[in-house]
């Protein structure tokens, strides 16, 4: 068991355990903070997969942007005065059974499938190549996503102000 395996299991444990707490804790603010650890764990897994640019983007956008937005959403939609930051749950047992069956099916599919992997090719972390791809092969998608992001943020601001 080398150092790569140990780090992998560490990040995997952080990711999965905190994701479990995200969906089971009753306090929404605690859920949001466990979501922070999940995002950190996923970023670590990206680094282990040789995608450190995506890991940095994950940290900046998810932790710095989306999580803050979610916490704003929690704070603005709960009456702070009478501390109603609890969330109700419904139909726990049927949901647990259904999701458990679904996860078991997916897991058995993943494990039993003979994935054709090429292990000798490990792409070196290189943000420059990603930038070249973004501006050459994927330039239409890139520009469209920019427009979508602009429209979405303007729309969100105008919807929220109404």
């Amino acid at each position: 068991m080398n150092i790569y395996d140990i780090i992998f299991y560490l990040f995997a444990a952080v990711t999965v355990i905190s994701a479990f707490f995200v969906v089971t804790t009753r306090n929404i603010v605690h859920s949001a903070f466990f979501l922070l650890f999940t995002f950190f764990g996923v970023a670590g897994i990206y680094v282990l997969l040789g995608a450190d640019f995506v890991a940095i983007v994950q940290l900046i956008v998810y932790v710095g942007g989306i999580l803050i937005l979610l916490i704003f959403g929690v704070m603005l939609t709960n009456k702070i005065t009478n501390v109603q930051i609890k969330t109700g749950t419904m139909q726990m047992l049927p949901a647990a059974i259904g999701v458990g069956l679904f996860a078991g099916f997916l897991l058995s599919t993943v494990v039993s499938t003979d994935w054709k992997t090429i292990s000798r090719h490990v792409p070196l972390p290189d943000a420059g190549t990603i930038g070249t791809l973004l501006l050459q092969q994927y330039v239409i998608v890139f520009e469209l996503l920019g427009i979508i992001l602009l429209i979405a943020l303007l729309g969100a601001a105008s919807i929220a102000r109404r």
Binding site: L35, V42, L70, T77, M90, L145, A160
Partner: protein, 103 residues
């Protein structure tokens, strides 16, 4: 214990995806439903990057993961604006109590 391979990453992705679905169907608060969606998007991203590495697709999977992250940001902003409006209208964000289309 076998070496870390594609399967390990896929299993983490499956677990994240399942817990995201569990969060979506059991939580009543709309913001918690959004958190479940974010978990599912992260699971999809792990799959993209894992297949990008182990399937010899170069950087294409990583670029797709970047696109997913951008879309997730747009989706979170829009969804939270809608949630704020719903809260203004109904004084609650529990998705099972919001069952009127108009007053």
């Amino acid at each position: 214990m076998e070496n870390i391979g594609l399967n390990h990453f896929l299993i983490i992705s499956v677990l994240l995806f399942s817990m995201g679905i569990f969060g979506i169907i059991t939580r009543r608060n709309a913001v918690m439903v959004l958190m479940g969606v974010e978990l599912i998007l992260n699971a999809a991203n792990i799959n993209f990057i894992a297949f990008s590495k182990y399937g010899n697709f170069g950087y294409n999977g990583q670029v797709m993961a970047l696109f997913i992250i951008i879309l997730a940001a747009a989706e979170a902003a829009i969804a939270l604006a809608i949630v704020l409006n719903i809260y203004k209208t109904f004084s609650t964000v529990n998705v099972d109590e919001i069952d009127r289309l108009k007053d």
